[in-house]
């Protein structure tokens, strides 16, 4: 499984405009689950689009397992990095759910039984296995988002990048996304996800990277990033620590208390 690295990456969309990424250096080890958090416009989406070559650094370097990605085409990088877009409607184009999911793995050269198994597995993972023949636009928005996730899962890339996967999802949808991330982690795949849902971040990721104005301003495990000592930094980027972290810190249970420890402490407190 490959490592991902960004070294002093600067990205400017238009000459003279603000730096969407302002000297970002980040190393993601194989198998890590990394959440990117930060206010809108902090550079999260710009950052992840560098990972599969959709955007190229204005300066700096992006590497995959030590190899500079600059000479690699997006289609080549797609074998290693699967990026799920924030808006599924900017991704979905096929006439049926199965055809949509097939598109990516087919581009990567999968055929026959391998292709069928990849599609079935991905549809099952997101709970859409009974919708294979449905037109994607007959699905609701939240299920279209899960379809977009399935269409990347089927590519079986070692690195999964998810742009706001839980936005617009109900509790069941969030649980499905959690399940997908846990399964990918169990297989040793790397997961990088952008999210504004701090409960989801605290519960599903090993590492939280906080961005503000194109820079990384915080990086560490959830227990440290959501600890009381980091709340000022989080609030300066318009982020609120998860409710559990705030209650846990107040009760002396730390910033990532388990449900059990929280309930016991609350019962004790009467």
């Amino acid at each position: 499984m490959p490592d991902l690295a960004m070294e002093s990456v600067v990205h400017v969309y238009e000459r003279g405009a603000v730096r969407a990424l302002d000297g970002v250096s980040l190393r993601v080890l194989a198998g890590e689950r990394v959440a990117l958090v930060g206010q809108n416009g902090s550079g999260k989406t710009t950052l992840v689009r560098h990972l599969n070559g959709l955007l190229r650094p204005t300066s700096g370097r992006v590497s995959l397992d030590g190899r500079d990605t600059a000479p690699l085409r997006v289609a080549e990088l797609a074998r290693s990095v699967g990026l799920v877009f924030q808006d599924p409607d900017r991704q979905i184009f096929a006439g049926s759910v199965a055809a949509e999911v097939e598109f990516g793995p087919r581009n990567l050269g999968m055929r026959g039984a391998e292709l069928r198994s990849a599609v079935d597995e991905a549809l099952t993972a997101v709970g859409l296995s009974n919708e294979a023949r449905t037109n994607p636009y007959d699905l609701g928005a939240s299920r279209r988002k899960l379809l977009a996730l399935a269409s990347i899962l089927a590519m079986r890339t070692p690195i999964l990048v998810l742009d706001e996967p839980t936005t617009g999802q109900d509790e069941r949808g969030v649980a499905t996304v959690r399940g997908v991330i846990d399964a990918a982690h169990a297989e040793g795949r790397t997961v990088v996800a952008i999210s504004h849902d701090m409960e989801f971040v605290a519960g599903s990721f090993d590492r939280v990277v906080v961005m503000s104005a194109g820079r990384i301003v915080g990086d560490g495990p959830p227990a440290s990033v959501f600890a009381a000592s980091s709340w000022e930094m989080l609030r300066s980027t318009y982020l609120e620590p998860p409710m559990a972290a705030r209650v846990g810190e107040r009760l002396g249970l730390g910033s990532t208390p388990t449900d059990g420890s929280l309930i016991s402490a609350l019962v004790r407190a009467g």
């Binding site: 959709l54 289609a75 797609a78 877009f85 409607d89 900017r90 184009f93 581009n107 990347i152 590519m155």
Partner: protein, 237 residues
């Protein structure tokens, strides 16, 4: 509209060419958008310009004087003259349309149409049509990026690019139509079709000099027609 009428009315190459310089390039240069205008107009007219030139140069029915021959097809000077005349007209028309597009915000145009009594429905159709092109381009870029992320190879040779992008044309178009449909429903939900006259909260600025200039331009159409019919414009070729 006036440019189109004049480009057709004025004869030869020099009439439309002078029109392009005076009514399109000069205002564009004053507005600081000459470069953008030339690029956009060229992009829009290049396919039709090439076909006009090739068809007339080689297949003009009244062509007699042969310039050169490629196998059985012969290029004639009459065909070349007709092609250049047509191209001058196309240049004047597309330049004027591009200048209008680059200098007039769609929202202002629609507000002004409504102020002049055009039905809000028609105004919406105009706005939707004007906004469709940039929306279509933005959508196409986003969808292509998403498919590239799924291994669709659109880099490299022209053939590879075409092979990658062509299957996306249908969904891009359908998506844009769906978007307009959704916008229509959103407008409907906000009482768009309610009968009665609306109060406009803002009027696009319009000075009396601008109004006078517009009337002068409109008056130029019958003048050009009379001048052409009476042969006063013979010097234009």
């Amino acid at each position: 509209m006036v440019s189109t009428a004049l480009a057709i009315t004025l004869g030869g190459i020099w009439g439309p060419a002078l029109l392009t310089v005076g009514a399109v390039l000069l205002p564009a240069a004053l507005a600081g958008i000459a470069g953008r205008l030339l690029r956009t107009a060229l992009l829009l007219t290049l396919p039709i310009a090439i076909s006009v030139l090739v068809i007339n140069l080689f297949f003009y029915p009244a062509g007699r004087e042969i310039l050169f021959a490629i196998g059985p097809v012969r290029a004639t000077s009459e065909g070349l003259a007709f092609a250049l005349e047509t191209l001058a007209r196309i240049g004047a028309i597309s330049g004027a349309i591009t200048l209008f597009y680059l200098t007039t915000p769609a929202g202002d145009l629609v507000l002004d149409l409504e102020r002049r009594g055009v039905s809000p429905r028609i105004a919406f159709v105009v706005l939707a049509a004007v906004q469709t092109v940039p929306a279509l381009v933005e959508r196409a870029v986003a969808i292509t990026a998403a498919q590239r992320a799924r291994g669709l190879d659109t880099e490299g040779s022209l053939w590879r690019r075409l092979r990658g992008v062509l299957p996306l044309a249908g969904p891009v178009l359908l998506g844009s139509i769906t978007e307009v449909e959704e916008r229509t429903m959103a407008l409907e939900a906000r009482g768009f079709t309610r009968p009665g006259r609306r109060t406009l909260l803002w009027h696009p600025p319009d000075s009396s000099r601008q109004a006078a200039a517009r009337w002068l331009l409109v008056a130029a159409i019958p003048l050009a027609l009379v001048a052409r019919a009476s042969g006063w414009l013979g010097w234009l070729g």
